[in-house]
């Protein structure tokens, strides 16, 4: 009973937050509502006893991805007027896609498969079971090889990103103190001999 109440609270919060993300005029507010939406989904994961996914969602999405997102939103000067220009024009098409997706989801959820007994009761995992531990064990034993390859892929992503974005030209104007101390008079001063100019 308690579980059901908690689920509805977080479910409602999630829907509300997700709606606000789309509706909000200020992109920073929208990003913050997205954080709330992620947080509510994490709570629902916890309710489903998938604590690893809940923690990962908070750590990775709320902690890292959204902070980065906020930075980008704040750094870029986004003109909201131009973004909203096409709203009315695309609305019919957007509504059509949304209704279509809603219908398809309804068809899937109301199918015999999901109406079977397996989904009507919620089975609890046995006490002392930790899916973080289970996941860790599988990842580092059964999927060791794939795990290592994934590491290599991340390394390639770093190398590729740096090699494509780094320019060799030195753009920094920071002075080097060592050079400044050892500088000689003739490095900076140029004495030019000139004829004296007469008065005009």
């Amino acid at each position: 009973m308690i579980e059901l109440i908690v689920f509805y609270i977080f479910g409602a919060l999630l829907l509300g937050a997700a709606t606000m993300v789309v509706v909000m005029r200020n992109p920073v507010h929208a990003a913050l509502f997205l954080v709330l939406a992620f947080f509510c989904s994490a709570a629902i994961w916890l309710l489903l006893q998938a604590e690893f996914l809940a923690i990962a969602l908070v750590l990775v999405y709320v902690g890292a991805v959204m902070v980065l997102f906020l930075f980008v939103v704040m750094m870029l000067d986004i003109n909201m007027v131009t973004i909203r220009e096409g709203f009315a024009r695309y609305l019919p098409f957007g509504l059509f896609v949304a209704i279509l997706m809603f219908l398809v989801m309804g068809l899937v959820v109301s199918s015999d498969y999901f109406l079977s007994d397996a989904f009507s009761t919620f089975s609890h995992v046995r006490e002392g079971y930790s899916n973080t531990q289970h996941l860790g064990q599988t990842l580092y034993t059964e999927y060791l090889y794939q795990f290592e390859i994934a590491g290599a892929i991340l390394l390639v992503a770093i190398v590729a990103a740096i090699s494509l974005s780094m320019s060799k030209a030195k753009v920094t104007k920071a002075p080097n103190p060592g050079d400044q101390v050892t500088v000689k008079k003739q490095d900076r001063l140029r004495i030019v001999k000139m004829d004296a100019e007469g008065k005009e």
Partner: protein
Amino acid sequence: MSISNEILLALPELSLLSMACLVLVVDAFSKDPDHRITYWLTQISLAIVFLLVFTSIPDEPRLAFHNSFIDDAMSSVLKCFICAITIIVFLYSYEYLKENKLMKGEYFVLGLFAVLGMMIMSSAYSLLSIYLGLELMSLSMYAMVAMNRKSAAASEAAMKYFILGALASGMLLYGISMIYGLTSSIQFTEIAAISMTSVENSRFLVFGMIFMIIGIAFKLGAAPFHMWVPDVYQGAPTSVTLFISTAPKLAAFAMAIRILVDGLFPLVADWQSILMVLAVLSMAIGNIVAISQTNIKRMLAYSTIAHVGYLFLGLIAGTINGFAGSMFYIISYALMSMGTFGMIILLGRYEFEAKNLEDFKGLSGRSPWFAFIMMCLMFSMAGVPPFLGFWSKWFVLKELVASGYFALAAVSVVFSIIGAYYYLRIVKLMYFDKPDKMTAIKATKQMRAVLTANGLLILVLGLLPNSLMQICLTALAH
């Protein structure tokens, strides 16, 4: 098998990974604008890996890492060819990068990682390892295409390659998830066993298989999933085009064999008919559109599409001999393509690329020897006996006829005659046309020697095709 033995099986991959990391660190500290140390370390690592694979070709397939890695004759042979081809590709590339002031250490580092991805694909025995190997290879390739940031064409090519590649990976994953949903396994022997027994699910298995075939066709560049090929081949720096058109094709072939033969052989009748459509479309589009091209890289891109069509013919035959024919085809294609792009690099100079067919005009007057080598390569691509390209078509068509696909074999012969036109046009330009300018060919001794060896290899292997065919047959015998 204990974990230490399993790690020993993957020794070539592990040493390549560690060498790639070493090259990365050494290059970060090297001040040399020519990146000589990086280049030589890269070549040495590839040579070491080649030797490691070459000295341990197994007779029996051995599985490791919870059956997600296989060490068998096919993977070893393909790995040997991948390493050897990449060594020569890098040799050509080094000249090209130096000449065009594109030298960057990351080129070789990313190249090594791409080779690692190809090796992982060659010996992958579960859908997850195949996918990860593919991503490792593709990601390195995207970055290599984009490496020349001054060129708008290269950036455009990289963008197209990246977006379409991501789409294809998505398709592949979609197929994988369907297959996993139906068989609850990502391991090939289990998938084969389940798809053999479960008849009621086979309709859905075919559905998943179609998506995976789309992924394979995209990576190989088969029509109608070929849209990226001409743009990427044309836009990328020639050395990268050279790389893309050689070694990755071998890895994509391995992927096709693993998925279709090791995993989904019970559905052979279904994938044969799909491949038939892909093969005919590829041969038609490749050969016919290539005729109207004036840019040589673009023309060779369409020729790749056509060659992939012939590669599929061996798979359609559905027998061990047919698969061996396909393997022979893809290896010989890689060798020919390597020589042809090497020739384009040879004829180019700084800020001038031999990009149009006109640039080959009167090559026989400028350099009779290289005109001869180019003639060998073009004859071989067109399938003129006694060159290698003739035998690759011969083996594939022989198996196709033996399996009873007469009409398909006839169609492919017609298309190969159409295709001969644009290869022979280059020969005509080289021997019967007057050159626009008589500039001498500027290239180092190394480059000349390797290109000569490359061209003569096509001729020698063409005279003794059975040795290579024997290797392919034993590789696929298990």
